[in-house]
Symmetry: C2
Subunit: 336 residues, 2 copies
């Protein structure tokens, strides 16, 4: 009971047609440098003629590599993870590797990952995005003996790639302090532990620090939590507009929220920049179109570097643990 793949041409057929050995075909397949250019072309032509597709299972079996990395992430439903993934995929493509995606989704679902034989552990390396593997281990002690890298998160123990969110919050706060009026921050309601990310709390922290330097205190009621959505931003904006004065400075902590806020400000007929300042975070591709002042963070780049670190480890790199911290940049546009 084998599926239709098995009737296909093999490396043997390619070898025969091109008049070389299987070894050479294999070398061509794996971009091995020691192949004469002429031979390579011969083999490639034969592959094309036969419409040859290597049997991935044979390859994995023979080499002992899965050519796959496992990507653990809270979910895959917003632009941030889409962009991280894009960076990861671009980098992995260079090595003929693929990501296998494991969205954790809910605390209950973590059980699926407690079995060390689970599909999630059949890969050559592990990428944790916005997730702390040690917190996860704590609940489900499983053995991860292969390389681990973190993206959008920090740890002393593993290579990691992240944005300095505290600095981002600080820059937002500092800039907004150049205006007068009341100050607000809109945060994302967190996932439940251990899927929670500290990102938004760090932005809050930096924001507070900046305000404090100017002697400004942020009242608790000016810290507003909503869900990650346009509507979340809109609703927060309406709440602010109902109760606050006429000069407002709002740090929306992500562009999607900022967009919701901006829409409501406009709907209310208020003047952006003169009456209300709004700063987002992310610098999503569309932020420019809406004139959203924001903190730029290189999301694809983070994914790319994380994948790069991981591939280095998979290929045997044994150097010390590394951390790259990206500094967010304030991009001034019409919203502030």
């Amino acid at each position: 009971m084998r599926n239709e793949n098995s009737s296909k041409n093999t490396i043997e057929d390619v070898a025969r047609l091109s008049g070389v050995s299987k070894s050479t075909v294999s070398r061509v397949l794996n971009n091995h440098p020691n192949v004469k250019e002429k031979t390579r072309r011969l083999v490639l032509r034969a592959m094309r003629q036969l419409n040859y597709k290597p049997n991935i299972h044979a390859r994995r079996f023979a080499s002992g590599n899965s050519y796959t990395i496992s990507v653990f992430l809270p979910e895959i439903g917003n632009q941030f993870y889409g962009r991280i993934l894009k960076g990861v995929e671009e980098e992995l493509d260079k090595y003929g590797y693929d990501p296998a995606l494991f969205p954790l989704l809910s605390r209950e679902r973590l059980k699926r990952f407690s079995n060390p034989n689970a599909a999630a552990y059949q890969s050559d390396g592990f990428l944790f995005v916005s997730l702390d593997p040690e917190k996860l281990y704590h609940l489900n002690p499983f053995p991860l003996s292969r390389p681990i890298v973190l993206a959008d998160g920090y740890s002393d123990k593993f290579d990691c790639v992240y944005v300095d969110n505290r600095l981002g919050g600080y820059l937002a706060g500092k800039y907004l302090c150049s205006f007068s009026g009341e100050f607000f921050i809109i945060l994302i309601r967190e996932f439940e532990f251990p899927l929670s990310t500290r990102v938004f709390l760090e932005r809050l922290d930096g924001f507070k620090t900046a305000l404090k330097e100017k002697g400004i205190k942020l009242p608790q009621r000016n810290i507003i939590s909503v869900d990650f959505s346009l509507g979340g931003g809109q609703i927060a904006a309406r709440d602010i507009l109902q109760t606050a004065g006429s000069s407002l400075n709002i740090f929306a902590t992500c562009d999607l929220l900022a967009l919701g806020v901006v829409e409501e400000i406009r709907r209310a007929g208020l003047s952006l920049k003169n009456e209300v300042r709004v700063i987002g975070f992310d610098d999503q591709p569309w932020a420019k179109d809406y004139g959203i002042t924001t903190l730029h963070q290189p999301i694809e780049e983070m994914g790319k570097m994380a994948a790069h670190f991981l591939m280095e480890r998979i290929r045997g790199y044994k150097g010390v643990t590394r951390a790259i911290s990206y500094k967010p940049e304030l991009i001034k546009r019409s919203s502030a």
Copy 2:
């Protein structure tokens, strides 16, 4: 350059320790019926002693099966897909199969799936959730010669499992018509083609039909589109409350929106049921806690049946194409 897996015990070691042949160990591994109970126990004990883990790559290679199905879905960021996935996983577990997840995410990202060698096509079967494979083919003609099943979607050509959304909308409309006042529907803004789902438009359609039967026409401005989020529901509710009269009937088309609406109704100090009726859709586990009247749909069950159909096909079932349509049930609670 083989990774640490290769130093592990093999089927050979287990055979030696338990004093049987490799064939028999393999049979135990695959739950083959023709193994004496005593032998099976012997083998299992040896496996435990050696902490034996079968080499998945060898297994796939030798059998020609990937023991994997590819699940294509728009994204994996909300409870609906989490629950579908849960059902799929439960069913696949029975067969020792695993899902490989392929969230399409954006139209641009579809390019990744145009290569017939892509990881997405290395599996034994394909599950399309909320997605129409024919629309996808149309953009990227790729050859899918292995079984295909649809969940949360309909097609004449493939086995499929879906909810009768038109009926759901109709039931919501019919029930709300038993109250007087103004009528509203809140919809989800769609993904861009070809990732769009027709689900919400079908609910709208059924809703309109029910109203029409009672001679009620739904004005265009009472059809409100928002993003899929709590905030979306809240914002829609506020818009409705600002402009509408005192007796309102709102079909929120999913529980998350309904919850947002209910929260705003309460905040506005209005009386649910007496002044405002709200109906959701889904019957999420938490809908009961919030007293949300809703249309129940069996989400995990859909995932389960879809996976079941697919496994049947993978195992050689050749019968005619099947479609299961689940009828949503109106669950009356305090919100309407």
